[in-house]
């Protein structure tokens, strides 16, 4: 599948500009175990690039190699034009890094931590301004362990921006957060991109990749399974719709299974009602066929839903496995 590129509102995506990340055949082995197996991809300026996959797919190892926290066994990459093998010091000056676990000093205040980290870089943003960006300005004198989970995540995001980076890595930025806190964080990530930085984020939440990312790289067992925009990935599915029909009486299973252009048929019941759920290539045709079947069975369609397929479906169809599994 050829990577496609989409310009989204507010981004300064430029296909002709030199890539922000160019990785070629990144491989990482731990003894017998191959965590990454020949991963090649390109990240362009101004995009939010998502790396989506289940736990253990190699997402964190991959970003750690690009951040200089880990070394590839084979392959090479440039980040912001610098070789990660020979110029990692230059890379570290210019990228922002948010690590998976909360990782800051428990005896310093938020302001002190930001000032401390700012002192490690040639240029740095003012602590108060940074905290305001994530609505933590009134917590400047609090310590990490006085913050809620969502606040901690917001802080770890803003701590990654202390050097006004051109590229920011977010590793599972919303892991363990409730839906409200997660949506807040998505907006913050969009703000980061809108302020001119390129964002690379890893996630195992399909809806996060769909809602947030300009392009998504699906990873499975150390390899890239597919790269495209979320919509492009779904469109690439053989059957890109989910159809769900609720009827008063059961439809004939064999006839439903024989409907052209359908797959993954599931029959269930909800009380007295019968539900058929399936994936369809051509939603209008399938809906018509199902309505006719209901009519023939002497019942009627009580409820009908047509949904686009999700990245979950894409992941399943590309890897044969459930994303959340």
């Amino acid at each position: 599948m050829r990577p496609r590129c989409v310009v989204s509102a507010g981004s300064s995506l430029n296909e002709d500009a030199p890539p922000v990340i160019e990785a070629r055949g990144i491989t990482r082995q731990y003894g017998e175990l191959t965590a990454l197996d020949g991963v090649s991809f390109t990240v362009r300026p101004g995009e939010i690039y998502g790396i989506l996959g289940p736990n253990g797919a190699g997402k964190t190892t991959l970003v750690e190699i690009l951040e200089g926290l880990n070394r590839p066994t084979a392959g090479d990459a440039t980040v912001l034009g610098y070789d990660i093998r020979t110029q990692i010091g230059e890379v570290k000056k210019r990228v922002g890094v948010q690590l998976q676990a909360s990782s800051y000093h428990q005896y310093l205040t938020l302001r002190e931590i930001l000032e401390l980290f700012g002192s490690f870089y040639p240029r740095s943003a003012e602590a108060g301004e940074l905290l305001a960006r994530v609505h933590l300005e009134d917590r400047a004198d609090a310590r990490i362990n006085q913050l809620s989970g969502g606040m901690k995540q917001r802080f770890s995001i803003v701590a990654a921006l202390v050097n006004e980076p051109d590229l920011v890595f977010f590793d599972e930025p919303t892991a363990g957060l409730d839906p409200d806190a997660r949506r807040d964080l998505w907006q913050i990530v969009r703000d980061v991109r809108d302020s001119g930085a390129t964002v690379v984020l890893t996630t195992h939440y399909m809806e996060e990749a769909e809602a947030l990312c300009d392009r998504v790289q699906l990873m499975h067992a150390g390899k890239i399974a597919a790269v495209d925009t979320p919509a492009g990935l779904v469109r690439s599915l053989h059957a890109p719709y989910r159809v769900r029909v609720t009827t008063g009486a059961a439809l004939d299973e064999r006839t439903v299974a024989a409907l052209p252009g359908t797959s993954e048929v599931r029959h269930t019941t909800e009380g007295d009602l019968h539900v058929v759920e399936l994936r369809a290539q051509d939603a209008p045709r399938t809906v018509t066929a199902l309505t006719d079947l209901a009519h023939d069975a002497g019942t009627e369609v009580i409820d009908l839903a047509v949904l686009p397929a999700t990245l979950e479906d894409v992941f399943l169809s590309v890897t044969g496995r459930e994303l959340s599994g």
Binding site: K92, V97, L99, A101, Y104, H105, E112, F120
Partner: protein, 356 residues
């Protein structure tokens, strides 16, 4: 670099547990020991049972025990056996009983005591055994090969509290340096701070260096504060002057190195704190913090020479007593060896690349 050092310093000072070991714990000891009257402290009620009043060995031993400063000796009216000795201890007639028996020309002294605290128990055991040793020497006649008297003459100049002062300072330094540094480093590793630092352009050794340096600065402040408190309580430690303070801070390096080694070898914060305590606690009691090493039994006396705190305290006390720096060269040489040796081991056991 200044911001980094300032932050490291703040982190040490704000760590309440580190401050407890650094200041509260030693000052608490000073205060508690000051409350005791040292004339009666350490005096043990000793009941001596004489089986054969005609035995010269038994006579000599009763006399020698009676001369001892830390024993309040009563001679039993009748000869006791083991059961009646135990009964005397149980009903608090005495804290300890010495049963003297003779078989032909050979005399035998058996100590039974009911002292459950380890310091008290080792004091009575070491004390009585040293009296027996002395009597043995006297009875064998001739001059003892080692003039033991000189040491006790020296001790007369120093009150127990004066003896205690440097011990408490050394103990405080050791506890703080080892426990706090090992704890901080393991925390930085486990909470991912080290990892987060490695993602910045800051060379990790600078971060490590600033943490160690902050501990050294706090240790220096700690020495001054405890020394002043000890001085005010009458321990006269400030007589040791600059050499005393410099030695104390240099000695801290050994315990900082040990802290780094512990953090390198042991993983898991609880385990690191446990290991640091397992090293410092026995050393605190054995290395002559509270009582002279000379009061320990012979074999233990030899063994505690292997502890760095023993040598640090010998040199610190010598400086307080006005000895010259040169005169302490053997101790200083041993301490220098400890500094270098622990630094080398620390270098190879602790890794900044560690991901926990």
């Amino acid at each position: 670099m200044r911001a980094l050092f300032g932050a490291s310093l703040k982190m040490v000072v704000r760590d309440k547990q580190a401050l407890f070991w650094a200041l509260i714990f030693p000052i608490m000891f000073l205060g508690v020991f000051r409350l005791f009257s040292f004339d009666s402290f350490g005096t043990t009620d000793l009941l001596v049972s004489v089986q054969d009043e005609a035995s010269p060995a038994q006579q000599a031993l009763v006399a020698a025990l009676g001369e001892s400063d830390f024993l309040d000796v009563t001679v039993a009216e009748s000869t006791l056996d083991l059961a009646s000795a135990e009964a005397a201890i149980e009903d608090d007639t005495a804290s300890a009983v010495v049963l003297l028996t003779s078989e032909g020309a050979e005399a035998r002294a058996e100590l039974i005591h009911g002292i459950s605290d380890p310091i008290g128990a080792s004091v009575i055991e070491a004390g009585v055994s040293s009296v027996v040793d002395n009597v043995n020497l006297q009875l064998q006649g001739g001059r003892p090969p080692i003039e033991y008297v000189a040491a006790s003459v020296d001790a007369e100049d120093t009150t127990f509290f004066e003896f205690l002062g440097p011990g408490i300072i050394g103990m405080g330094l050791m506890n703080f340096a080892t426990i706090s540094l090992a704890g901080s480093l393991s925390r930085y590793r486990e909470e991912g701070v080290l990892r987060r630092i490695r993602a910045t352009p800051l060379p990790p050794w600078k971060f490590f260096g600033s943490v160690v340096l902050a501990h050294m600065v706090v240790a220096a402040l700690q020495v001054v504060i405890i020394a002043v408190v000890a001085e005010l309580l009458g321990a006269n430690v400030l007589r040791g002057g600059i050499p005393f303070l410099v030695l104390a801070v240099l000695g801290t390096v050994i315990f900082l190195n040990i802290g780094v080694i512990v953090a390198g070898l042991v993983h898991g914060r609880g385990a690191v704190e446990g290991a640091a305590n397992a090293i410092t606690l026995p050393m605190m009691f054995l290395a002559g913090t509270f009582f002279p090493v000379s009061q320990l039994p012979g074999a233990v006396q030899l063994a505690v020479q292997a502890l760095p705190l023993t040598h640090l305290l010998v040199a610190m006390r010598a400086f307080v007593e006005g000895e010259s720096v040169i005169s302490q060269w053997p101790e200083l040489l041993i301490l220098a060896g400890w500094i270098v040796g622990t630094a080398v081991v620390a270098r190879f056991t602790f890794s900044l690349e560690d991901n926990g």
